[in-house]
């Protein structure tokens, strides 16, 4: 993939890339910290939740090469779990989110265990079918309150003393959750485990021949991705103070794919931008008569046809991106 570039040139390049990365990181952090002064806090919180969700999804599609069409189960499932334990059992917010994460991870374990038996296209269809099953479960189960959803979920006090009803406090809490999630993802993909996942993505047969138990690694990645999607979903339930069927429906699974595709599959920060675009677009269209579905569908088709690298992928591959020292795959 790096034909012709000598080792030293590559180190220099990646050094300059990491410098650029650090610069962008600092700018991004500053922007996120001051953002509530300029934008409606709920909007940015929503954006952060979806960004984390998309990054969690990308862990699977971008770094393991598995297309899950059922990630709404983990996002929406965790939202239900968190909302239920916080509202009905009086759990504190941090404990509620933890319950959401664990619940999503368990759902991921079950779905992953069944789905990794088939590959590629079948994997996508199986995850879609299983998540539809979970949707029907949520439609009928008592604790989800069917079509009504779980409403007026209290935000409560973080660690017992930080009042999350203040939207400033809530915002910085969500930002902290988002950053923790991103650090976990970053550590994960740069760990030996993450490297093995990439090798599975590139050449599954070879990974098997090297003695790796591919199924177990895939399952590990699936559970990890589900848990992080759960982190995003549980947090979202506290932000909006409700959990509904929308979050477990297949459209949600499609949305997160679009965010990742639009931002750049297999790039660490691409899905954040993808999520930002999609959420902004939805907010913008929500006030007009024009249905979001048509726009989403067209963006999907255009992305697949001519824009497969996504925003960040295209940027990395552009002249400016290469000058800044980034490398692009594929």
């Amino acid at each position: 993939m790096t034909h012709g570039t000598s080792a030293t040139a590559r180190t220099e390049r990646s050094a300059s890339a990491s410098k650029t990365y650090a610069a962008f990181l600092i700018i991004g952090l500053v922007l996120l910290i001051v953002a509530p002064a300029f934008f409606y806090p709920i909007f940015i919180m929503k954006l952060l939740c979806f960004a984390l969700f998309a990054c969690a999804f990308n862990l699977l599609l971008g770094y393991t090469g598995l297309l899950s069409f059922g990630h709404a189960t983990f996002f929406g499932g965790a939202a239900y779990f968190t909302a239920h334990v916080v509202k009905e059992w009086g759990f504190s917010p941090e404990l509620g989110i933890l319950v959401g994460v664990v619940g999503a991870a368990l759902l991921g374990l079950v779905m992953g265990y069944v789905a990794i038996r088939r590959q590629g296209i079948y994997f996508a269809m199986i995850t879609l079918a299983l998540s539809q099953m979970f949707f029907f479960f949520c439609l009928q189960a008592k604790f989800t309150h069917g079509e009504d959803g779980i409403q007026s979920v209290p935000r409560g006090h973080l660690f017992g003393f930080i009042d999350l009803n203040s939207s400033t406090n809530m915002y910085y809490f969500v930002l902290a959750v988002f950053l923790i999630g991103m650090v976990i993802i970053w550590r994960f993909i740069n760990s030996p485990f993450g490297m093995i996942l990439k090798s599975i993505r590139e050449n599954e047969q070879r990974a098997i021949s090297l003695g790796y138990s591919v199924a177990r690694y895939k399952l590990g990645a699936f559970v990890m991705s589900a848990a992080l999607a759960g982190l995003a979903g549980g947090t979202k339930a506290l932000v909006f103070q409700f959990a509904t069927l929308t979050d477990v429906a297949w459209q949600m699974s499609g949305e997160v794919i679009l965010m990742t595709l639009l931002g750049g599959i297999g790039t660490l920060i691409g899905p954040i931008f993808g999520a930002g675009l999609v959420v902004t677009l939805q907010n913008y269209l929500a006030t007009s008569q024009f249905p979001v579905t048509i726009v989403t569908g067209i963006v999907f088709m255009v992305c697949v046809l001519v824009f497969r690298r996504g925003l960040i992928g295209e940027f990395y591959a552009s002249r400016l991106g290469r000058k800044l020292g980034f490398e692009h795959r594929r």
Binding site: R117, R118, Q132, F137, I298, M301, V304
Partner: protein, 295 residues
């Protein structure tokens, strides 16, 4: 009253019939999916949308042009098939060289666009389509009451399934199709126009979906959402049957439709998920699917 397993026979047979009808649609749709996948290596997510287009075509032709059910049954699939051919030629054909996942994502976007457009134009609620007068009413079979149209659906879809199977297994065109599935490059070397064959295959698949849609119009309500509701179930059917064999797709479709109908009799709460449960069980026991050759 005759009872079977503690259930009135009438209710039992009624649900069995509904299961058989649902199964007919599952069979027709999974058959089309299998035909398209066999040659194009694309999972056609827009299959549900094309099914919905068929139903809408029938309804709109009746409302605006006064074309009756019988002509719609022929014209609907042709119109939707042509639409499919255009999509394949202009867009889908660019994706064959890529990972098959892109085909799935593209057709997913296509499905959203079509569905969204129809929701925008006609609203989300369903609209009725009258049963054609020749097939109205019902007949008493002695042990149960059979609405004629429902019997017609079962018979016609069975004929369509067997017809497609014969087309693929017994005709010259079918032999080209099967050969191209095995090795497209070699078939092209022999002078067969493979790109045309691909377009034709996609058009046939889309046409089959539309045919199912026209058949479904008098049974279910004609609604923009009818496609996405059924396509996910059909995916599960396809996973159970494995897409390797055409016959496998047909048999699995009917089997799962009946299983769903029977669940409605004995444990109604589970009827919406029973097909997914069966899929999970099959995957645990036989990962390649019931008729699948490759994992």
């Amino acid at each position: 009253m005759t009872m079977i397993f503690g259930i009135p026979l009438q209710a039992f047979l009624g649900q069995l019939l509904i299961g058989l009808i649902n199964g007919s649609f599952y069979a027709l749709l999974s058959l089309g999916l299998a035909v398209i996948f066999g040659l194009l290596r694309v999972i056609n997510f827009a299959h549900g949308a094309q099914y919905m287009l068929g139903a809408f075509a029938a309804m709109l032709m009746l409302d605006y042009l006064g074309i009756n059910y019988w002509f719609a049954l022929i014209l609907g699939p042709i119109v939707v098939g042509l639409f499919g051919a255009v999509i394949e030629r202009t867009m889908l054909s660019r994706l064959y060289k890529l990972d098959p996942l892109y085909g799935l994502l593209f057709t997913f976007g296509l499905a959203l666009t079509i569905e969204g457009t129809f929701r925008y134009l006609y609203g989300s609620s369903g609209q009725p389509y009258a049963v054609p007068p020749q097939l109205a009413g019902g007949t008493n079979l002695g042990f149960m009451f059979l609405p004629i149209y429902r019997g017609w659906v079962v018979v016609v879809s069975l004929i369509a399934c067997i017809g497609t199977w014969l087309l693929i297994e017994k005709t010259k065109l079918g032999s080209y199709l099967r050969a191209a599935t095995e090795n497209a490059t070699l078939v092209q070397v022999f002078g067969v126009n493979v790109p045309l064959l691909l377009t034709l295959t996609y058009a046939i698949g889309a046409g089959l979906a539309a045919f199912a849609g026209v058949l479904a119009a008098p049974v279910y309500q004609v609604s923009p959402l009818m496609g996405s509701n059924i396509i996910i179930v059909v995916f599960a059917v396809v996973v159970v049957g494995g897409m390797g064999s055409i016959m496998g797709a047909i048999v699995t479709g009917y089997m799962l439709g009946i299983a769903e109908g029977l669940t409605k009799v004995f444990y109604p709460e589970a009827s919406s998920i029973v097909i997914f449960v069966i899929m999970a069980i099959v995957l645990l026991i036989r990962p390649a699917g019931l008729f699948g050759r490759d994992a």
